[in-house]
Subunit: 158 residues, 2 copies
């Protein structure tokens, strides 16, 4: 079965390219989810949430956190509660606003994340190992153009 | 905010490339979901399901259908029920197996899908319009290598 086989259209190369882009993303993401579960008994939304907090030593407001998440499908409040219960994340009061709080990694959470992040990096390096450094550069450049184009279309609609 | 900014690792270019790939896929997918909702009051899983059936005039068994779906997050039985209720899809008995059935598009479903597919093609062509035909070929080739590599890693693990 090849998903690209079903194409019979006026824009066959764009459609084929889109399905290929989608398939690559899904294959890599599926492997990352599998490895996170097998090696760390965790999920991609949990990993993603910790990775957002990792670069904000002062913590983040929940709203900013949910805007930054790369992965959908996670209930951010629920995941935060879990991580707090496990001692990996803590809530801190916001001065001058009694209803708001910031979320940050605990020292233990930071350490746990560093271990996972090192492995995650190796999985991603493996995923792209079939391409040379020059090919990765070319791919990055083309995807950069594709990304800017989507953002400019988005800006026109908004 | 740029998601690529958070990288400080030993494999910075692979990680950056992965986030860029993920971002491109998400931006295009978000736009497709938005357009399907605005223009056809439908969802990506419904569109995806109809597109799988479109190339199988004799219909598909539910199991085969769920394996082919590109998009996750849809309850396939639920979506099929909806489309049956709307007269876009029908169930047919399977000879010699009283418990199984095949699912196929009705003539009305086929017509409705053709209209949506034509628009969908135009959205995808727009999404890639920033790249020349030669650049799209290069991108397709690089993504093809990336895809084969994931599939060969998958085969080694399985």
């Amino acid at each position: 079965m090849d998903l690209e086989a079903r194409i019979h259209s006026e824009h066959p190369d764009e459609l084929r390219l889109w399905l290929r882009l989608l398939t690559c993303t899904q294959l890599i993401e599926t492997r990352v989810r599998f490895n996170l579960r097998e090696q760390f008994a965790t999920t991609l939304p949990r990993f993603d949430l910790m990775s957002q907090l990792e670069r904000e030593p002062d913590g983040m407001l929940m709203k900013a956190l949910s805007q930054r998440m790369m992965v959908t499908g996670g209930n951010i409040t629920g995941i935060t509660d879990q991580l707090v219960n496990e001692g990996l994340v803590e809530r801190r009061d916001v001065e001058g606003d009694r209803r708001a709080y910031r979320v940050c990694l605990t020292p233990r959470g930071r350490k746990a994340f560093a271990t996972m992040a090192r492995e995650h990096e190796a999985w991603i390096a493996d995923a792209f190992a079939a391409l040379t450094s020059a090919e990765r550069n070319t791919l990055a450049k083309l995807l950069g153009r594709l990304k800017s184009h989507q953002k400019s279309m988005e800006a026109q609609t908004a």
